[in-house]
């Protein structure tokens, strides 16, 4: 059966290749779902930047070759507004109207959970590049893949590092959403030795952290973990430092960038730690190359979400090449399941549930506004490398 299909596909491809010989290149539409508006719009920009960068790089190199034929990439982008229903609509459109071979993206786990079953309905591979909810890859959905580390993986790495620091008690200030709540419960579970400090949640749109800070002070915590995005993160750190709180700060990957530094200043950030999927200045050629490309294109330092998304698209292309098709979702899925791709964030290889296992780093801000890598031990590097 498969052989017949592939035979058919191959002959069809051959036919196509033969017929419009004048056109050296055909466009392949790749589906992108992301949040361009709504509460997740800001991180959505970084995700899009990664996809744009990857697509441009491939197209600038003359496209990619499948079955002896060159294809260029055309991104078909839909805005999901962090709303599950909009996500489902976008996916349906990609599957039935645009008929794309593969879909990438999304930021919030709730929306991704609404998209994934449709991917399965249409045998259309769906590659997540940002959402961290661990349960997404637990639904026995063979068409769902995740490039980025999920909450559990992030927490394990961070807990591993924090155990060695032996700070106690530890307090938390977290966004009251999937990433924030997942982070708090995960770390608490993995750090049984640390005494409970204060746990404060805030909703999207809340900007005043002063009452949380007073509670952290009152709890005599040695460290505060900030599970939130760039914008609230900058507010929280400023308010913590202004309040004169003497605690170790631990943040998310959103807080380890030069852009973040611009919002505050080196003095406020000094000593702060963050887990990071992607240290943009690490002395690794693939990372350096990506960071330079990104900076040249967007005029700012690369972001982890961009790196993950860049890799996601590259993996998708590699899978299409391996499968020898730009239309058969099933074949692309099978290729994805077997893929072993070296991307910017490291080796991408999906487990049986579709989850990749990228390296998680812990970096720290230095006094001069650069960062150093503290974890893993193998990647340890001084100021300016993080």
């Amino acid at each position: 059966m498969t052989s017949i299909t592939s035979l058919f596909a191959a002959s069809a491809l051959a036919l196509c290749a033969w017929l419009p010989a004048a056109h050296a290149q055909t466009k392949v539409q790749i589906g992108i779902v992301t949040a361009l508006t709504g509460p997740m719009a800001a991180p959505g920009v970084f995700q899009m930047n990664g996809f744009k960068l990857a697509a441009e790089e491939i197209n600038a190199a003359g496209g990619f070759t499948v079955g002896g034929r060159k294809y260029s990439i055309d991104l078909k982008v839909y805005d999901t507004r962090a709303n599950p229903s909009e996500g489902a609509t976008a996916m349906q459109r990609l599957a039935t109207v645009d008929k794309v071979p593969v879909v990438l993206g999304e930021l919030s786990s709730g929306v991704a959970a609404a998209i994934a079953p449709i991917a399965q309905d249409f045998a259309l591979p769906f590659i997540l590049t940002v959402p961290t909810g661990p349960n997404l890859t637990e639904q026995n959905n063979p068409f769902l893949f995740r490039v980025n580390a999920n909450n559990h993986q992030l927490n394990v790495a961070l807990a591993d590092f924090l155990t060695k620091q032996a700070w106690s008690p530890i307090s938390f200030i977290a966004w009251n959403n999937d990433a924030g709540r997942g982070g708090v419960s995960g770390i608490k579970e993995l750090l049984p030795a640390a005494k409970d400090g204060y746990v404060g949640y805030f909703n999207v749109g809340e900007v005043d952290f002063s009452s949380h800070i007073a509670n952290v002070r009152n709890s005599k915590s040695q460290a505060v973990m900030l599970f939130m995005d760039e914008e609230p993160g900058s507010l929280a750190i400023k308010q913590i430092r202004d309040a004169g709180l003497k605690v170790h700060l631990v943040g998310t990957l959103a807080m380890g960038s030069d852009r973040f530094l611009k919002r505050l200043d080196a003095q406020k950030l000094e000593g702060m730690l963050q887990y990071n999927a992607f240290p943009p200045n690490a002395d690794v050629p693939r990372i350096k190359k990506f960071s330079q490309l990104y900076k040249a294109k967007f005029g700012e330092e690369a972001h982890g979400f961009s790196a993950q998304s860049y890799d996601g698209l590259m993996v998708a292309v590699a899978a299409m090449q391996a499968a020898g098709t730009v239309s058969d979702g099933k074949a692309i899925r099978d290729a994805l399941a077997k893929i072993n791709h070296t991307g910017v964030i490291g080796t991408i290889k999906f487990d049986a549930k579709g989850q990749a296992n990228p390296q998680v780093y812990v970096t720290q801000w230095c006094a001069n506004g650069s960062r150093r890598i503290l974890y893993p031990d193998a990647a340890k590097a001084g100021c300016g490398a993080g």
């Binding site: 508006t37 719009a41 900007v207 009452s211 202004d242 004169g244």
Partner: protein, 291 residues
Amino acid sequence: MTQALLEQVINGLMMGSVYVLVALGLVLIYGVMHVVNFAHGVLFTLGGYLGHFFFTQWWDSFWMATLLSMLSVGLVGYALERGVFHPLHGNLRNQVIASLGLILAFENAVIALWGPNALQWKVATTEQLVSVGELRFSVHHLGIIVLTMAMITALGLFLKHTRFGTAIRATSQNQEAALVVGIPVRRVQWSAFALGSALAALGGCLVGPLFLVFPQMGDVPLVKGLAGILLGGMGSVPGAVVGGLILGVTESVSTLFLPTDYRDAIAFMVMVGILLLRPQGLWGQRVRGED
């Protein structure tokens, strides 16, 4: 513990002051027009954005930018009163629904014009710190409390001792009677609407530099301002002040004892509970025209 309590009270006063500015605007408008303007939050946002715009584009002065922003939002308020709320007067349902429409229109227009990302508004006062024992606060932080108190006093004096203030009070107490004694009720209504809108803009400009200027910045102040005027008794100016401050302080003090993920839910539960026991609010009297 006492220190934490003190710190929380000061924090609460600061956020409470912002709620008060919103609540005052709502209450002024409610008083003379019997409209709860649900779009008041987007006027707060608009105020923040316009302040930021004037600050970065025209004048490098926080006060000039704030004044200009208040003026512009006041004009927007005037236009809304003339164009939307007055034509719908007497129809409470449609007024509320129109204000929901305004929320959608304004909030998304702001995103379309300025983008979804937060803007930073750097003002020197947010960087200067004042130490109180072990505690430290930014000057801007304390400035918000002081300025709000000044605004409240000024507004109180204005309402009590000027002709126009008296006209506003008379209109809120009894519109027909105000008409009979020759008070220009229409003028009172649109100017109160403009004044209320300008107060919302002031709130946005005060908060903008301390926090960030972003499209949803008015949502929380709106909801809390509404709760504040309900708590204080609809239509009562001192009630709005007390209601807003009580809300701010209990909110931050409660984080000492209660889980924060249910903070808003608890705040609303308490509000509904108080109102069930005292339907006229803590301060106000039962208002007419609410049947």
